[in-house]
């Protein structure tokens, strides 16, 4: 049956839309803000919080660069500097990089696969609160002078009670637990959303590449994060209850920490990088006006990268005296991972080369600018990565500024540039408003230039022998000029981030005016209004290809039959996305917040008293039980029906 769009606008359709709005509406006011389970609202606050942590982490870096701008500077002492670089690394890795990628996915993936909400919406809300409380806790500790001091890697014995007395490292270890719980919750949600909530017809071979990248990333989170949770739990147990996991005097071993930490830490780099690859694929496809070249190769490359990432961790430990055969294996594995990364870069180049260049007002669009910046920077970072994979070279520059330069090229060039592009790209859908292209271009060029001015000299500093994590250095070693240049560059980057903040705030103060599909993109996310309604899709979209919105004049196919008066989503089969279940999703509720508060009490209590783990579990169990108990306030989950009985 064909239904022209004019017929949809009848009174019946309007009534249906109003019913949907009532069903999916949050409670009004502040209580609605606290109780929402809407993936879009939670993603907004997740992204905003992660960006705030990014800016604070960046401000810490600027302070460090002031200290290092000249030799024997007395701007700050060694103790403060230790806390600053530890907080900078921890905040950027645990409170910004991983959460912001997951946060973007929380917004984008359900819309991209045609779902009405993310899987496990209350777990999603819980994840945000746990993440927020963990971040607030560690920054509060930092401002009270009990911030971490042993680096973001917290190597033992430096982080043991002997060398890090007091509570500084304990707060760090529990911050890890907070952020990992939050990250694992989202990973499970994304896996379930991509595997079970796709629109009918969206077979495995039709999943958008960003959704694929988030699926692989989520599996990596699931397999990698338990390692750091275990490592940090062992560490806090050694410090608080006298266990000996890392104590060589009683049969433990300090390198156990490094193995567990890097079994997480190396995949972590790819956990940050893979979402960025997905973002690039979406942006490149849209602005080249053609499907991505080599879709199957791209998906296989994502999987290969995810798999190989677990075989590289020992290349962080070449300087620890491992057997030569082990070193050779990890060198080979480290070099091998360049293959899938390279394959993707060639696919993107082929896509851009053979596509039509979509411009905005005659210029390259800001999202695409950031992607082009990524190509330049990531190739440089990748090349120094291949250099570092070689044992002799690694041992020469280990723990020097060469390594600092390398991982900033990979992480900022490889992940923050695509992220910035993606934020510009998806901002119209997230807020209903388009960011200023002019400010975006200024932001890009300041970032690109400032970044290279900051980090390129660090390669030279490293080769000249400057170790990382030193609070000052003597004059006369030839390190003065590169350090001064790096410090100047850091302020240019700071200015660029400030411009981004101004662009966002200025745009948010304007009325909503973005069209549904301002970039002419091909995926389902752009088929709904900007911003989308609370229920995302009025009817379930049906997909017949990889680019359901191309060509632009093709009608959108839908299936009807999901309830308008209770929160229903469609579950489909894993392989072929055949409709299987009308699944009721939960209504808003306060108990995810209370559960997160109870868990926060447990974690912080356990820093001071090990019984906190046992006694703190009781309020958490109570809160979690009430969360799951059928309630009258949850009509979608049968609560109202029970009352009727």
């Amino acid at each position: 049956m064909n239904t022209p769009i004019d017929d949809i606008e009848t009174g019946q359709a309007q009534a249906r839309r109003e019913a949907l709005e009532r069903t999916w509406a949050d409670r009004p006011g502040f209580i609605g803000w606290l109780t929402t389970v809407d993936h879009k609202r939670i993603a907004h606050r997740y992204v905003a919080t992660a960006l705030v942590f990014f800016m604070i982490g960046g401000a810490l870096a600027l302070l460090m660069r002031i200290q290092l701008a000249k030799p024997e500077n007395s701007f700050m002492g060694p103790d403060r500097y230790n806390q600053l670089f530890s907080m900078h690394g921890s905040a950027m890795m645990f409170l910004f990089a991983v959460p912001v990628m997951e946060a973007v996915a929380v917004f984008v993936v359900p819309l991209m696969v045609g779902a009405r909400n993310i899987a496990f919406p209350r777990l999603n809300a819980f994840s945000y609160w746990v993440y927020l409380f963990g971040g607030v806790m560690i920054f509060t500790a930092f401002f009270l002078d009990v911030g971490p001091e042993a680096g973001w890697t917290a190597y033992v014995p430096l982080s043991s009670s002997d060398f890090s007395p007091g509570k500084r490292t304990d707060f760090w270890a529990q911050m890890i637990t907070f952020t990992e719980v939050a990250a694992l919750c989202i990973a499970v949600e994304i896996v379930a959303t991509v595997m079970a909530m796709r629109a009918p017809g969206m077979t495995l071979a039709r999943i958008p590449l960003f959704a694929w990248s988030m699926f692989v990333t989520s599996l990596m989170v699931i397999f990698a994060m338990p390692a750091v949770m275990l490592a940090s739990t062992f560490l806090i147990a050694d410090r608080l209850v006298g266990t000996h996991f890392y104590n060589a005097g009683e049969g433990g071993d300090a390198l156990l920490w490094q193995h567990l930490f890097w079994f997480f830490g190396h995949p972590e780099v790819y956990i940050i990088f893979l979402p960025a690859l997905g973002m690039i694929s979406e942006i490149v496809q849209t602005f080249s006006r053609r499907p991505v070249f080599g879709y199957t190769a791209m998906v296989l490359a994502l999987m290969a990268t995810g798999f190989l990432a677990f075989g590289l961790w020992v290349h962080h430990m070449f300087a620890t005296g491992l057997p030569p055969l082990g070193n050779s294996f990890y060198t080979a594995a480290s070099m091998m991972i360049a293959i899938p990364s390279g394959a993707q870069i060639f696919c993107w180049i082929a896509t851009i080369w053979t596509g039509r260049k979509a411009l905005v007002a005659g210029r390259i669009a800001t999202p695409m600018l950031f992607v082009l910046g990524f190509f330049a920077l990531f190739v440089l970072g990748g090349l120094t990565g291949v250099m570092l994979a070689s044992v002799p070279l690694d041992q020469q520059v280990h723990d020097s500024y060469f390594v600092v330069a390398h991982f900033h090229y990979v992480l900022i060039g490889g992940a923050v540039f695509p992220l910035m592009g993606a934020l510009h790209y998806w901002f119209p859908k997230m807020s209903g408003r388009q960011l200023s292209e002019r400010l975006g271009r200024w932001q890009f060029w300041l970032f690109f230039i400032g970044f290279n001015v900051t980090f390129f000299p660090m390669h030279i500093l490293g080769l000249m022998g400057m170790p990382r994590r030193v609070y000052t250095y003597p004059s006369g070693l030839g390190w003065e000029l590169p350090n001064l240049i790096a410090s100047i560059g850091s302020w240019i980057v700071g200015l660029s981030v400030l411009l981004f903040a101004i662009n966002v705030i200025r745009t948010l103060c304007r009325p909503r005016s973005a069209p549904d599909n301002p970039w002419g993109a091909p995926d389902l996310l752009w088929s709904v209004s900007s911003p989308p309604p609370a229920y995302n899709f009025e009817e379930v979209p049906v997909v017949g290809g990889r680019e359901p919105l191309w060509p632009a004049d093709r009608p959108l196919q839908v299936m009807t039959g999901l309830s308008h008066v209770r929160r229903e989503a469609l579950l489909t089969t894993t392989m072929d996305a055949i409709p299987a279940t009308r699944w009721a999703l939960p209504d808003p509720g306060i108990w995810p917040l209370w559960s997160a508060i109870a868990l926060t009490v447990l974690f912080i209590w356990s820093i001071f008293n090990p019984w906190g783990v046992v006694l703190g579990a009781i309020p958490f169990a109570v809160a979690a039980t009430i969360w799951f108990w059928p309630k009258r306030s949850q009509p979608s989950l049968g609560g109202a029906n029970e009352r009727d009985c």
């Binding site: 499970v188 567990l260 039509r356 905005v360 301002p518 229903e568 009308r582 169990a621």
Partner: protein
């Protein structure tokens, strides 16, 4: 070269190609979100067990004797009793899973009650096990990792027994919707994981110190 604005498309025509109203509102296995939740958390926790076991064998060569002299291996009584009861519990668990799939309320109610009781028995046996490890967690690294393995499993079994008790109350309420059957089936799946992971841990904790 085309301008983005030209490509920007407003609402397009909609074509209805099917109706979903006849679909069930609950299901078993991968077409139920509960299954994906249990599956995801089994992966996470399974990885936790694998890594903790890896740490156990990583620490193993750092001692001349395992356990280090004069520590004795854990006494077998309670751990073996726990293992036997856990393995026997698989029979009613399998039966309960089948009844849940057939959506037979009365057998599900009593099957879940039996599983809850067995779970509580196992928690008591576990408490006894802690008294028979023959080593303290703060004595040496062997003691630390042994306690870590058993504590990790205890966290899981305690959580699952509590979860079963809550579900048990829910299936005795006046109105039981179909999704509860699916929940019971997912709970049974998790129990397999608890028992399977324990069998591996039992061999490691109790027999590695005797065999290696």
């Amino acid at each position: 070269m085309n301008a983005i604005a030209e490509a920007a498309v407003e609402r397009r025509d909609v074509e209805i190609v099917g109706d979903l109203s006849d679909l069930p509102d609950y299901n078993f296995g991968p077409t139920s979100l509960g299954w994906w939740g249990v599956f995801g958390f089994m992966l996470i926790e399974g990885m936790g067990f694998v890594l903790a076991i890896g740490a156990y064998f990583y620490l193993f060569p750092f001692e001349h004797h395992w356990p280090p002299v004069p520590v004795r291996p854990p006494s077998l009584l309670w751990g073996t009793a726990f293992t036997v009861v856990a393995l026997l519990s698989l029979i009613p668990n399998l039966w309960l899973d089948r009844k849940a799939h057939r959506q037979e309320l009365r057998p599900v109610q009593w099957g879940l009650t039996l599983m809850s009781v067995l779970g509580l028995v196992l928690v008591v046996l576990r408490a006894c096990e802690f008294t028979a490890l023959n080593v303290r967690w703060d004595q040496n690294a062997y003691g630390s990792i042994t306690w870590a393995l058993i504590a990790l499993h205890t966290t899981h079994i305690t959580t699952d027994v509590y979860d079963s008790l809550v579900l048990n109350v829910l299936v005795f309420r006046k109105k039981v919707d179909g999704r509860k059957f699916s929940d019971v089936s997912d709970n049974a799946l998790y129990w397999y994981f608890i028992v399977a992971s324990w069998v591996v841990l039992y061999v490691i904790i109790y027999w590695t110190p005797r065999w290696l």
